[in-house]
């Protein structure tokens, strides 16, 4: 006989998928067939809503402690700070949904901007920004080919790509920073505004919409989740799994290029040694967003909320005067606390 709180313990109450979604890695073997639930999420899952609840609680605490917390100025600060990492987390989430991982985002972001920096002398913003985006796309496609065609585990191939891209960035630039300040269009990505909204925030929102559309669209979204859920079944049902993976890696590369563009324009210089350890921060946001590294689950909406949670926490801790290093510790603990519940009923997890 079902006990009153069974659904809380096992997360099996029909229609309440919260705890399973909050689990960072679904135990693929133990996952139940999704029943009448569509294979791809049509609406934000309840797990996403629980993350929203965490976000609202944090914002409430912030507003209570610091009355200026929700001022337009502070919101601008929070969102601008989190825009780059958020965009990367969107790309990473889509890669993780297909059951792969992309550790090369920092390398791709750096190499793309450095390639753009080499073209500063031409003075053509179209050429520079085009080169940055193209470089991100090409590196992403190479990642995808190594994973989907050559068959190297994505952990290894993108790890190698991280090293290679970082090395190439230093070789191309001679280790020197480039200064794009004269290129107004380049700087616009970090410091400009659209209808009063800073460009990083506008791009963050735009990328969120694009990714939401891609993951929720009936064709591509279904292929994405099917590939991650069971690649063999997806292949047998006519989905070209390798193409899906290449597309997703290419998209993640473009996300990295855009994030690199935003961050280097904000700083005002292109640094070939930028973003050390960025991939792990992005992964943390992705994981906090509920994407399962085993593939087949995760949502862009979750990643969006997770990026906001991280932004709000960092902003709050800054206002409290907590040191940057203490913030790392707190952020790590928050991730653990948000990710941990709902894992008890699984037999084991890798």
């Amino acid at each position: 006989m079902p006990q009153p709180l069974d659904w809380l313990r096992h997360g099996t109450w029909t229609g309440f998928d919260g705890f399973r979604h909050m689990a960072a890695i679904e135990d693929k073997a133990g996952a139940k067939p999704s029943g009448n639930r569509p294979a791809w999420p049509a609406l934000p899952a309840v797990g996403d809503l629980s993350r929203v609840a965490v976000l609202i609680a944090l914002v409430t605490v912030g507003q209570y402690l610091y009355p200026g917390f929700l001022s337009a100025e502070n919101l601008r600060v929070i969102l601008t700070a989190v825009a780059g990492i958020g965009i990367l987390a969107f790309g990473m989430t889509m890669v993780v949904i297909t059951g792969e991982i992309d550790l090369s985002v920092a390398g791709v972001a750096v190499l793309s901007t450095v390639v753009g920096g080499l073209l500063i002398a031409t003075g053509s913003p179209f050429l520079i920004i085009g080169a940055v985006l193209l470089c991100g796309l090409v590196l992403g496609i190479i990642n995808g080919i190594l994973v989907a065609k050559v068959g190297i585990s994505s952990l290894i191939s993108t790890l190698a790509m991280l090293g290679i891209a970082g090395a190439l960035a230093n070789i191309f630039s001679g280790g020197q920073a480039a200064y794009p300040e004269k290129i107004a269009e380049f700087m616009w990505f970090g410091r400009g505004t659209v209808f009063g909204v800073p460009v990083p925030i506008a791009l963050f929102a735009l990328m969120a919409l694009i990714c939401l559309f891609l993951t929720r669209s009936a064709t591509f979204g279904r292929r994405l989740y099917a590939t991650g859920g069971n690649a063999r079944a997806a292949m047998l049902s006519g989905i070209r799994v390798d193409r899906v993976k290449i597309a997703v890696f290419a998209f993640c590369g473009v996300c990295a290029a855009v994030a690199g563009l935003i961050e280097s324009a904000r700083l005002g210089y292109i640094n070939p040694a930028a973003f050390p350890g960025l991939e792990l921060k992005v992964l943390a946001v992705t994981v906090l967003g509920g994407a399962a590294l085993a593939g087949g689950t995760g949502s862009v909406f979750g990643a969006l909320v997770a990026a906001l949670i991280i932004g709000v926490i960092n902003n709050l801790l800054n206002q409290m005067g907590v040191s940057f290093y203490m913030q790392q510790v707190v952020t790590a603990l928050v991730i653990l606390v948000v990710v941990m519940p709902g894992m008890k009923h699984r037999k084991f997890v890798k």
Binding site: A24, I25, A29, L103, L146, V150, G151, I152, S153, L155, I156, S157, L159, A160, M161, L162, G163, I164, G166, A167, L168, N170, I171, G175, P276, G277, L280, L283, A284, V287, L293, S323, F324, Y325, M326, Q327, Q328, V329, T331, A332, L333, I335, L336, V339, M340, M343, K344, R346, K347, F348, V349, K350
Partner: protein, 337 residues
């Protein structure tokens, strides 16, 4: 590899060793090195090379043990730095309790090396156990658990030191970092001994066999009545131990430790483990080949350094070799099946 296959492959036949592609890679690197540079085979350079190999090899050994159980430990580099920092801080604190100043002018640590080493190893193993408990009992994915502890340990390392380096002074550190026994640096001798002991542990004891079994088929292992959780905690504790020993060797060589050291070494350790044939999925891998891979890795980097290749090109080469090695293994696997 299943247990049965592993058992049949257990005798380490000379012909088997000679078939190993890594060995031939190492031999060819050494031949090219000897042919192109008169300094490559000099005593000093070989010692230098072996010290580098010992550092990355110790990390890779710990990583391999965790990989064999099908998990991953990203926190080893942070652990190795944090454990040594805590060793210094706690030893200095113990000294203060006994009215001895063990941190003297200029942040120089002159305290008891025995206490320092004991505290460091206890810290490292404790962190490993915490990781293991998180993975096995709280069921957080190992990737996430160790990513979280990586972030937290890096932050706490800065908090414990305020970002300033500690300098270590003492005979023990000189010995551990610089001394040479019978032509082999102490750190490398330590590495060889630890690998030999652990290799024996993994291949010739029940516990070791169970670690492979967990990586091979966890459900089957659980259903055969083996308490898998404890073995996973053991694997992480061993990984923490190896990380700390690597940290001790590293700090003894640098004669200093600071929170920002060894960024990204976890990725090098994964690379060496994979080149050494440890499967990321678990269940396969031999520490003997990891040792070979570590020496090969260090020999290759050393060769590039002797040629005067800038660090950036060296990183490029590491990445390229990693992709090539795995791609070749992949094609070999495909052609066999």
């Amino acid at each position: 590899m299943t247990i049965a296959e592993r058992a049949s492959a257990r005798p380490l036949a000379v012909s088997g060793i000679l078939k190993d592609p890594i060995l031939w890679l190492l031999v060819s690197i050494v031949i090219v090195g000897a042919a192109t540079s008169p300094h490559y085979l000099s005593e000093l350079n070989i010692q230098n090379l072996l010290r580098n190999a010992a550092l990355v090899g110790l990390l890779a050994t710990g990583m391999s043990i965790v990989l064999i159980t099908g998990r991953i430990d990203l926190s080893i580099a942070a652990n190795m730095v944090f454990a040594t920092i805590i060793g210094v801080v706690v030893t200095a604190w113990i000294g203060r309790e006994f009215d001895v100043r063990w941190i003297v002018r200029g942040n120089t640590f002159v305290g008891s090396p025995v206490v320092f080493i004991a505290v460091s190893i206890m810290t490292g193993v404790a962190i490993g156990i915490v990781n293991g408990i998180g993975v096995a009992y709280l069921k957080v994915a190992s990737f996430i658990m160790t990513l979280v502890s990586l972030t937290a340990l890096r932050g706490m390392g800065y908090l414990a030191t305020n970002g300033a380096p500690f300098y270590l002074k003492g005979e023990t550190f000189n010995w551990l970092g610089d001394a040479v026994l019978l032509g082999v640096p102490v750190s490398f001798a330590l590495f060889i001994i630890l690998v030999a002991v652990t290799h024996f542990f993994l291949t010739c004891t029940t516990t070791g066999g169970r670690l492979y079994a967990i990586g091979g088929n966890e459900t089957a292992t659980l259903y055969s009545g083996i308490k898998t959780k404890r073995y996973i905690v053991t694997a992480f504790a061993l990984s923490g131990f190896f990380a700390t020993v690597a940290g001790l060797v590293f700090t003894a060589r640098l004669k200093s430790v600071e929170a920002a050291l060894a960024q990204g070494y976890e990725l090098t350790a994964i690379a060496i483990a994979v080149i050494g044939g440890v499967a990321l999925g678990g269940g396969t891998g031999s520490l003997w080949r990891v040792l070979l891979a570590a020496v090969t890795f260090a020999a290759g980097l050393n060769l590039l350094a002797i040629w005067g290749v800038p660090t950036w090109y060296q990183n490029l080469a590491i990445g390229a070799v990693l992709v090539l090695a795995v791609a070749m293994a992949r094609f070999q696997y495909k052609s066999q099946h």
